[in-house]
Structure formats: C-alpha cells, structure tokens
C-alpha cells in the first residue's frame, strides 16, 4: 500500500511504541475494534483511561500521606490502576504497578513511595507519546 510521508511517520511511531515496550498486544486488540462505526475508538478508550487513572493517582497520593500506611487500600487502588493499564496495553505502566504491589505485599513504605513515582513517570511519558501519536494520525488521515 502506497503511503504518504505522514502515514509512514505514523506507522514508524506506532512501531516504536511497541518496540520500546510502551505498548503491548492489548493495544492491537483495541485497534481491531476501531472501524467506520467507531472511528475514534482507540483514542476514546485512552482518554477514558487517563481520566480514570487521574482519580486513582489522587487516591493513591492521599493514601500514601496517611500514617501508618494502609497497604491493603494501597494495593486495592493499584490493582484497579493495573487493570486499567492492562486494558489499554500500557505495558510499562502495568509493570510498574506490579512492582508497587510487590512493595505493598512486603509492607515497604519506602518501596511504595519510590515505585509510585515510577508509575506516575511512565503514565505521563505514555500520555505524551500517545497524544503526539493520535495528533499525527489525525493529520495523516486528513492529508489522505
């Protein structure tokens, strides 16, 4: 299939997101559900994820301020976060969530605080990459 330069750029960017481990197969499952009836399905799901996860991040931040730490509550929040991350194929975010939960099991406050920073970092990095990707994909679609 002949692609214009923008489309090639979109395809390259997409490939990079998988090759660099930001996304996994679940993202492809979402892409497979996108069609003429749901032309923006993937972006809608990702937007929903970032809305939902902002709430969970706020809850976890508050829970991390309480003393003593309620590791059960923290684990429960992170379980939800991990589930949402899995749903969009956010591989690195999901992996950091797993690390956090291991620190909850070990009742390590320092571990939880540290890995939560990593969760947030990966969460932000992926959001920026996906925002750029979707913007480029829209431009490529318009150019087509």
């Amino acid at each position: 299939m002949e692609r214009n330069p923008l489309q090639r750029q979109v395809a390259y960017m997409r490939r990079s997101l998988f090759d660099q481990g930001y996304l996994d197969e679940q993202f492809v499952q979402l892409e497979d559900l996108q069609d003429d009836a749901n032309p923006n399905f993937v972006e809608e799901i990702v937007t929903l994820f970032y809305t939902d996860s902002a709430r969970l991040i706020h809850n976890i931040e508050q829970a991390l301020e309480s003393r003593p730490l309620d590791f059960i509550r923290l684990d429960d929040y992170m379980h939800q976060f991990k589930g949402s991350s899995s749903s969009i194929g956010a591989k690195k975010v999901k992996n950091e969530c797993t690390q956090f939960r291991e620190h909850c099991s070990a009742r390590s406050a320092e571990g939880c605080v540290r890995t939560f920073q990593q969760v947030k970092q990966e969460h932000t990095i992926l959001r920026r990459k996906l925002e750029t990707y979707f913007q480029l994909a829209r431009q490529a679609g318009l150019a087509n």
């Binding site: 679940q26 499952q29 979402l30 497979d32 559900l33 069609d35 749901n38 399905f41 809608e44 799901i45 929903l48 994820f49 939902d52 379980h79 939800q80 991990k82 589930g83 949402s84 899995s86 749903s87 969009i88």
Partner: protein, 131 residues
C-alpha cells in the same frame, strides 16, 4: 428498550456486568463487532433487577468485583432462581483460589480481563450452533 429476550433481534443477547467504564466500553465494542446484541450494567444488583423483571440474556459476562452486589453473590442468586443463561466470569485477579471461589458460585467458565476475540471465539461458535 430492547433488552435481552424481549428484543426483536434474532442475535445472541449478551449482558456485560462491570463497574469499570473502560472494560464496559471495550467489551461492548468487542461483542457488538462479533454480532451480539449487547447491554451493559454496572453492578450485580442491576443484573438481578433485570432478571426479576423477566428479562434474560443468552450470555452474561460477569465481573468478579462490583459495588453493591459482586459477581459471586449475583451468580449464586441467579442460579438459585433457576437461571440457565451462560455466565462467564471475568476478573483481573490472578489468584487460583479467588477464581475457584468465583467458579463455585455457578459460572460456566472464567476469563482474565480484558476479553479478546480469541478468548471467546470458541464459546460463540458453540452458541451459534445451538441457536
């Protein structure tokens, strides 16, 4: 409204019971794409309310953890009512003991979230043969 068996459609009817809005959207899109008539509720009580009102579905995808009434509770209640619908549990919990307890409530089978075409294709093939 066209819920379940009172719909005029001859499609397989499915109910997605999940409090996670992302999963609701993904599972609805997936099952619709596979040709099912899909409805969504956010907790187990809403599932029971539908069945008590006389509505039924060929297939229920039941989340394990939901507010108000969770998957195991509502599955037990449905089976106690004599409901024969196929009930597939969906969960993100990976402990065998939790999945076994959920299965014991009366599920036909249990899947890890999120559902994918490959996970449910054999189930749908069996249903379509029966229909």
């Amino acid at each position: 409204m066209g819920f379940g068996k009172y719909s005029s459609s001859s499609k397989i009817s499915a109910l997605v019971a999940d409090d996670d809005t992302i999963i609701q959207k993904i599972h609805k899109a997936l099952l619709t794409k596979l040709g099912l008539e899909v409805n969504v509720v956010a907790n187990g009580k809403e599932v029971l309310d539908l069945y008590r009102s006389g509505t039924s579905f060929d297939l229920i995808f039941m989340d394990m953890e939901m507010p108000i009434m969770d998957g195991p509770e509502v599955t037990k209640e449905l089976r106690a009512m004599g409901v024969q619908s196929i009930i597939m549990g969906v969960t993100s919990r990976d402990l065998d003991s939790e999945k076994e307890a959920f299965m014991a409530s009366g599920l036909n089978d249990c899947y890890m979230k999120p559902l994918t075409i490959s996970k449910i294709s054999s189930l749908l093939q069996d249903l379509k043969k029966k229909n």
